[in-house]
Amino acid sequence: MNVAKPNSYRSGPDDRGHFGIFGGRFVAETLMPLILDLEKAYSDAKADPAFQIEMNGYLKNYVGRPSPLYFAERLTEHLGGAKIYLKREELNHTGSHKVNNVLGQIMLARRMGKKRIIAETGAGQHGVATATLCARFGLECIVYMGAVDVERQQPNVIRMEMLGAKVMPVQSGTRTLKDAMNEALRDWVTNVHNTFYCIGTVAGPHPYPTLVRDFQSIIGNETKAQMQEIEGRLPDSLVACIGGGSNAMGLFHPFLDDPSVEIFGVEAAGHGLTQLHAASIAGGRPGVLHGNRTYLLMDADGQIQDAHSISAGLDYPGIGPEHSWLHEVGRVNYLSATDDEALAAFQLLSKLEGIIPALEPAHAIAKVMELAPKRANDHLMVVNLSGRGDKDVPQVGDILRGKSK
């Protein structure tokens, strides 16, 4: 692609929140003053060692970090080729990487004196993480969730309610993650004086894509150190699934300026790229939604199209703006995996490693099944196992039983 290569892939965004042409702050005027406050609160917090110390304490003793970097010996043997390591984000408290970001944002909300927290959620993992930390710090918590997702992710709905959060099923639009985000933005516009919007991925208006990335970068930073300790060198490739792209950005970002590291992001190809899917980069183009310019699924008139994925957490018609930029500058390769490929990977990992993954990282595993056999035996491949499959057990169980009938 004919886009200028930067000196560093890690320096973005600029002070207006742009990664190349992507990012920015496309929001209603009502929200602008708060977004500017948040930007200031975040830069103050970053400069405050006490913030880091407090956060590290919770990351260690509440979240359970560092998460292991596990050599998946049987998967490696089965596939033949690259040595596959799993970054075990599914072992975090609440069962996914989402908690890293939520902890950071809740600590910012506390600094800003906000007592009411809202969030949007697709699979429910971000909602559960938010409900958990709101319970821990005694904050009011409201989670917007598409009515379709409320149906297919029941275990997480029940968990959120047990944690004291109010789950608001969203009936508008496609009744999935994008509509939950619209509804959360409407709530925020209405309750801007006392409410903190805890965004679940590296999307939304600046500074969200940056601050979520920074909070998730602990994944890549740990991976770097752990790989150094285990193998004495950098990994050769990284693979992560992409909904909005936060687990992927967290793993990738610390490695962006290491040119020897190949990087793969895996979008959800749903029923296939020529049918219903959620692969914004493979099947979309740049547009403006939810506060940022980024790759979006839309029709010729700029109307946003429905996304589809078997995985509620990947079922979003957009992607974080930094990914759009990394795609255009050619630093990260964006691939996609279909529903069926993800289901096969879900079963394979469960049976070979005794680890039931969430459907989201099953998409990443699906591409590892393609990539690993083509690599040499000394190639070190890290897959971000962003979440565990407990939430998906009923859904996948139904599908597998239906199929075997």
Binding site: F26, E29, T30, G173, K178, G287, D301, G302, Q303, I304
Partner: protein, 277 residues
């Protein structure tokens, strides 16, 4: 001078506030929508805002959101919205038309092409909800160059420190959003609005119109006593919706339902000028 500037100058001379109506382009179908828009000035609308339908109107409430989806379902596009304005201009060259909506359809249409086509169709101003002053390079500055007014929203969260930035590239009028919230929610408090309008007026000579949460002739009048104009949208959209058949199609009542409410609201606004004098 755009039609907006001319219209506000005339109203000032007449000593009364503007009545600004909002309807969604193509709601419930393109043909009925044109009839409705043609009926608005006859019923007392001084300025017409036309919504550009969008799938994800994140600052709008359920009524306007549903109106946009009805229009999209009936095949409405941005191109057809401009044709609607062109159709209206055949019989009316005086009533200002302001397009209101979200940026993505314009960005996809192409900003430069959109501005040329909008201007030639007879559009006078733009209100783009998700383009704050921080993103002025996108559309606001090109629109000014193309001779279109870019009308900015000021809100209760826009404090004195921020107001100058919000007003810097605004022209035509300032749209004060009377509540921190979405369209169709809450009710504007006329006294609070009065204070806010006075505050904005300390920073600008532009007319200040007020919208969000105005539904009745009485409310429109109370606001018109404090501001240079009252904007009504959701109430008109609801009147339209209530006239539809079970399948959401226009009936013989549809155009009249909107026209009658417009006339009643216009009476309210016109009453304000007498009260203020």
């Amino acid at each position: 001078m755009t039609r907006i500037d001319t219209r506000f100058a005339e109203l000032k001379k007449a000593g009364r506030a503007a009545f600004v109506t909002f309807v969604m382009a193509g709601d419930p179908d393109p043909a009925t929508s044109l009839e409705i828009i043609k009926a608005l000035p006859k019923s007392g609308a001084d300025v017409i805002e036309i919504g550009m339908p969008f799938t994800d109107p994140m600052a709008d409430g359920p009524s306007i959101q549903a109106a946009g989806l009805r229009a999209l379902k009936a095949g409405m596009t941005l191109k057809k919205t401009l044709e609607l304005v062109r159709g209206f201009r055949k019989d009316d060259n005086a009533t200002p038309i302001v397009l209101m909506g979200y940026y993505n359809p314009i960005y996809i249409y192409g900003v430069d092409k959109f501005l040329v086509d909008a201007k030639s169709a007879g559009v006078d101003g733009l209100i783009i909800v998700d383009l704050p002053p921080e993103e002025d390079d996108e559309l606001c500055l090109p629109a000014m160059k193309a001779g279109l007014n870019f009308i900015r929203l000021a809100t209760p969260t826009t404090d004195d420190k921020r107001l100058p930035a919000v007003l810097a590239n605004t022209s035509g009028f300032v749209y004060y959003v009377s509540i921190a919230g979405i369209t169709g929610a809450g009710a504007a408090d006329a006294n609070a609005v009065g204070e806010a309008v006075a505050r904005i007026k300390r920073h600008t000579k532009l007319p200040v119109c007020v919208g969000f949460g105005i539904r009745t002739p009485e409310a429109a009048r109370a606001i018109a006593e404090k501001a240079n104009g009252s904007v009504v949208g959701t109430a008109l959209v609801d009147a339209l919706k209530n006239s539809l058949d079970a399948d959401g199609r226009a009936t013989a009542k549809t155009v009249n339902a909107v026209a009658e409410l417009t006339a009643a609201l216009a009476q309210g606004v016109k009453g304000a000028q007498q009260a203020a004098e």
